[in-house]
């Protein structure tokens, strides 16, 4: 229980950060990318601040042999840079440009109860489930490609 309260508080810090930063505001997100129009460079400060803190903090954390409540650090094992990574990310970017919400911005924004956020998150979940089904289908057809 104590662990879960601590994890809840970590989520709360993230959700507060998103709320303050403007990442939950599609108008601001879209303006960040609209350099040729109503450009709002604010979000470079979000990325800059977050990456700087994580860069320094991770270096301190990774000096420990293991996390506080786990056997080891669960870091992504894949190192391959392939068409799936680049294509998937490009597609994500297209969706982000259309809607103005990304998953990390939209999930905390659910707490406002706004209909627009709920619509986006429902569609997001549908997209994730659809992609998982597609991945299962293609993996069954081409077992070798899936292993790579």
């Amino acid at each position: 229980m104590k662990k879960h309260i601590a994890i809840y508080l970590i989520g709360l810090i993230f959700g507060l950060g998103i709320s303050i930063s403007g990442m939950a505001n599609p108008a601001k997100v879209i303006n960040f990318f609209d350099v040729a129009g109503t450009w709002d460079p604010s979000l470079i400060f979000v990325m800059g601040g977050a990456v700087t803190v994580a860069f320094i903090g991770y270096r301190i954390v990774f000096r420990q042999p293991s996390p506080l409540w786990g056997k080891g650090f669960s870091l992504p094992g894949t190192r391959q840079i392939d068409a799936r990574l680049i294509g998937g990310s490009l597609v994500f970017g297209i969706g982000w440009g259309i809607a103005g919400f990304c998953p990390g911005g939209a999930l905390p924004a659910l707490g406002t109860g706004r209909t627009e956020v709920i619509i986006f998150v429902v569609a997001l979940v549908a997209g994730i489930l659809l992609a998982k089904q597609l991945q299962k289908l293609t993996a069954r057809k081409k077992p070798e490609a899936a292993r790579a």
Binding site: K3, H4, A6, I7, Y8, I10, G11, L12, I13, F14, G15, I18, S19, I20, S21, G22, M23, A24, A27, K28, I30, N31, F33, V35, T38, D40, F45, V46, G48, T52, V53, A54, Y58, P67, G70, F73, S74, Q80, I81, I86, G88, F92, G93, G95, G97, G100, F101, C102, P103, G104, L107, G111, I119, F120, V122, A123, L124, G127, L129, A131
Partner: protein
């Protein structure tokens, strides 16, 4: 739609996002990625994997209420996008982040902070995709 340039608020918010990412790594040894978090929440591998994700998500969703308690206002959410486009965008984001194995938080913050080549490539790819899409919508179709 113009939005106000907010360097201090955005930097402050970014620092908190980075802090949360470091704390999750220090406690559970996990990357703070919204995509993996949500995917694992809707299709959990086991109950222990579900419970921490549920706690983290509950905290995230409570963020705007804490903001309201501090400032007296809900965070600004202005949506200059029609409902069908919002749903289409959500669907496309869901497909993309699953194939790309991450989004702005997982690749853009945590992966970049680890100097992961995969995350750097992913971040450059989605930023390029977003910028191109916004340009087309606003200045080619909409212009």
């Amino acid at each position: 739609m113009e939005t106000e340039f907010t360097p201090y608020a955005s930097l402050g918010g970014g620092l908190l996002i980075g802090l949360a990412a470091v704390m999750l790594m220090a406690t559970l040894g996990r990357i703070f990625g919204a995509t993996g978090l949500l995917a694992g929440f809707i299709q959990p591998d086991s109950s222990s994997e579900f419970s921490w994700r549920a706690a983290l998500l509950a905290g995230m969703v409570s963020g705007p209420a804490l903001y309201l308690a501090f400032t007296g206002n809900w965070p600004d959410i202005q949506v200059p996008v029609s409902t069908p486009m919002l749903a289409l965008g959500g669907l496309i984001v869901g497909l993309g982040v699953t194939y790309g194995a991450g989004c702005t938080s997982g690749h853009g913050v945590c992966g970049m902070a680890r100097l992961s080549p995969r995350s750097i490539v992913a971040t450059l790819s989605f930023m390029a995709g977003t910028a191109a899409t916004v340009y087309v919508i606003r200045h080619v179709i909409g212009g």
